[in-house]
Every structure is written in C-alpha cells, then in structure tokens.
C-alpha cells in the first residue's frame, strides 16, 4: 500500500467508526446548537448589529464545537493501545496525519452543514454560495492546527483542557480572516479588494501550518 493509500485507509477507518458510534459529531452538533442559543441571548438575534457580526458568531460556533471533534482525533486511538500500533505501522507519519486530518475535516464539515441552515434561520441571514471556499479553507485551518495539537497533547494530563488553550491563540489569524470574509460575503460583497487579501492570508496560513504539521508530526508522535 502506498502512503496516500494508507492516509485514505486511516480516514476511512475513522469515518466508519464515527458513522457507527456518531459520538463526536453528535456532541459537536448539539454543542453548536447550544452556542447558537447562548449567543442569541447575548446579542439581539435579528438586530442590525447582529447582522454585522454574523460572520464572527458563525466562526465562534465552528471553532468551539470543533474542539469536541479535534479532541477525539488521536484520543480515540488510546483504547487498546491502538495509537502505538498506528505509530509502529510501516506508514510515514505524514500519511497518518493526513488521514486523521481528512476524517476530522469531513466530520467538521458535517457539523457545519447541519448548523449553517439553523444559523441562517435563527439569525435571519441569507446564505450565499461564495461562502463555500471560505468554509473549506477556514475549516482546514482549524483542522490542521487542531489535529497537530491533538497529536501533541494526546499523552498529556488534562488533555481536554490543554487543546483549546493551545489552538485558539494559534488560530487567531485564520479566525480573523474567516470571520471578516464570512461577514463581508454574507453582506453581499464579492471576492475583490480587501476580501482577496483576507483569502490570501487564509491560504497562506493553511499552507504554512500544513507544511509545519506534516514536517514535525514524526517528531511529535515518535519523539
């Protein structure tokens, strides 16, 4: 099996076990709904000001509910020492990382696809197709940093506490870009001018952190 085949196999394995148990996605979707409810208390949901910050609210929902999925990516392998077996398997670390990242991306996108229409209804926002690239790039940023730090913290005490503490400051640039882009696009703007700059920043963030994570994952997993 070549390395890409191994990555695909790992992603399929994760998705299959998630499809059977649905433990991470169920929790993440419910949590996303809870955050939507709480935010509606903090801000008048259909007011004009809330429309202006809708992009930011949406990414708060994605980022917070996403950690429930990202926390599980490597932790789910701790049972029966499956992580040791994966590390010992004759596949490169980056294949393991890409497989895990792909499965997490799919799970996060599922959560987003479920919570987006609900968000649109709750906050009276009309969705636009131009959001798709922003969602993909922003979610990949969340996933790539989240999965790398999930590998980093898998054997650490207080893992669930440590992961959010580490990923959110790191994600600040990607979150700013995604929030501003989403807000502008929901406002009816096109991909031009400032929006292109933010898109470039998002792409740059994704490339830099994918390269770093792929390059350093062997050190993280094996030492």
């Amino acid at each position: 099996m070549n390395s890409f085949g191994a990555a695909v196999a790992i992603a399929r394995k994760d998705l299959r076990s998630e499809l059977r148990s649905k433990e991470a996605t169920n929790a993440a979707v419910s949590f996303a709904l809870v955050i939507l409810l709480i935010l509606s208390v903090a801000f008048e949901p259909t007011g004009d000001e809330t429309h202006a910050i809708a992009g930011g609210l949406l990414w708060i929902v994605f980022a917070f509910s996403g950690t429930l999925i990202l926390n599980r990516t490597f932790a789910r392998e701790l049972q029966n020492d499956a992580l040791e077996a994966l590390i010992a398997a004759p596949i490169p670390g980056w294949a393991l990382f890409l497989g895990k990242a792909t499965s997490s991306l799919v799970m996060m996108l599922v959560v987003e696809v479920v919570s987006l229409p609900i968000f649109a209804i709750f906050y009276d926002v009309s969705l636009v197709w131009t959001l798709v690239p922003v969602l993909l790039l922003g979610t990949w940023a969340l996933v790539v940093v989240g999965v790398a730090f999930s590998a980093l913290t898998v054997n650490v005490q207080l893992r669930e506490v440590m992961l959010p503490l580490l990923i959110y400051p790191t994600l600040v640039p990607a979150l700013i870009a995604s929030m501003i882009l989403t807000g502008n696009l929901l406002d009816g703007q096109a991909f031009a001018g400032d929006n292109l700059t933010w898109l470039r920043l998002l792409v740059g963030f994704d490339i830099i952190y994918t390269a770093l994570a792929v390059g350093l994952i062997d050190i993280v997993l094996v030492g």
Binding site: N155, Q157, L165, P169, T170, P173, L201, G223
Partner: protein, 225 residues
C-alpha cells in the same frame, strides 16, 4: 564561578538601571506634546525587543534540542520563554498605563497591542503545557515543537491584525524621530534591562538544572526501592 557570573551580571544591570533612571527622571526634559508620561517609552520599547529576543532564543534552542537532543538546549528554551513572557507582560502593562494618560483608555484593540497579547497567550500555553507532561524527553520534544508552532504564528498574527486595525503611534525608532539624548537613554536602558533579563534567564536555567537533578534522583530512588 557560574553563580558569581550571574550575580555580577545582575549587579551590573541594576547599577546601570539606577544610573539610567537618574538620567531619565531628572536630567531629560519633558516631551513637548506628551509631558512627563513619555518616559514610559524607556521601559516599554526595550521590554518588547527583549521579549522577542528571548522568544527567538527559545526558538533556536528548541530547534537545537530536536536536532541534537541536548537537555541544556531545552532548559535554555524554557528559561528564555518564561522571562520573555514576563517582559512581554511588562510591555503590555506599561503600554496600558501610557494609553490611559494619552488616549484616555486603558486598552485598545490596536494591532501591535493585540499582537503582543496573542503572543503572551501563545507562550503562556507553552508554559502551562510543560508541567502537564511527566516524561522529560517527551516534555522537551513536545515543548520544542510547540515553540516552533508559536514562533511561526507571530508574523502571521502581526500582519493579520495589522490589516484589521491600526491605532498605535508610529514606531519612533524606525522613523528616527527621537532626539539623540533620548535615543541614547533608550539604548542604555535596553542594555541594562537586557543584562537583568539575561541574569534572570541564568537563574531560571539553574533552577531547571536542579529540578532535573531532583527528578533523576527520585527515579533512581524508585528503581532501588
């Protein structure tokens, strides 16, 4: 010998700091627009430069640890990060006091201030994660990777927040807007604070070394028991 070097360095820094303070508070005139409060610049700016210097040292030592697996590099990395976070906090606090006087508000989400704040949070994460890992080699390895991730983020954070908003006064160092005697006072205070910072790193380095000694003795005792 080593201990003496630390004390001498700290003492030199302290003496220089006292001499600088005399110059800063009693000799240099008030600034035309800002009055007396501008003097905070002599602590605010060096603190930022020293913080980033130490974060950079931590990055180099983290890479060195991953390359050569010497625990000395790891110890320097954690010592430099800790003192770096302290200087970054000094930078934020002094900036906040200055902002209260000049802008009338304690805090504003300007790009430099926000970037420094994110930087403090990034390295606080590093410092909080370290004690949560018990195995020394694993702790050093993961901390080194984390340090690389954090440092890579600094320029991206900087540019993203810069595009986002801007309110901070233009950097007086780059534009050369500072009179000669004030620029020299800034340089001397930078050197004094750098000496004190380095002494603190060395003290922290020694405590890291002692900590490691205690851990290995404890393991030895466990094996013998």
């Amino acid at each position: 010998m080593r201990e003496k070097a630390i004390y001498i360095l700290g003492l030199l820094g302290a003496i220089a700091l006292v001499a600088n303070m005399y110059n800063i508070f009693l000799v240099l005139p008030d600034e035309a627009n800002q009055g007396a409060i501008y003097r905070i610049i002599f602590f605010h700016v060096p603190a930022a430069i020293i913080a980033f210097t130490f974060f950079f040292v931590a990055l180099i030592c983290s890479v060195a640890f991953l390359a050569f697996k010497t625990f000395k590099a790891d110890a320097i990395a954690v010592a430099a990060t800790e003192v770096g976070v302290m200087f970054a906090t000094i930078n934020l606090v002094t900036g906040s006091i200055w902002g209260r006087n000049i802008w009338g508000i304690w805090w504003t989400w300007d790009y430099r201030i926000t970037s420094m704040f994110v930087c403090v949070l990034l390295y606080l994460g590093y410092l909080i994660m370290r004690p949560a890992i018990t195995e020394p080699t694993q702790r050093a390895t993961l901390a080194a990777v984390l340090s690389i991730f954090a440092f890579a983020d600094v320029p991206i954070v900087w540019f993203s927040i810069r595009w986002w908003r801007t309110q901070h006064p233009g950097p007086v160092l780059e534009t050369g807007g500072l009179p000669h005697n004030m620029a020299m006072a800034l340089l001397y205070n930078f050197l004094a604070l750098l000496a004190i910072g380095t002494a603190l790193v060395l003290v922290r380095l020694r405590s890291e070394h002692v900590q490691r000694e205690i851990e290995s003795l404890r393991r030895l005792a466990l094996v013998e028991a």
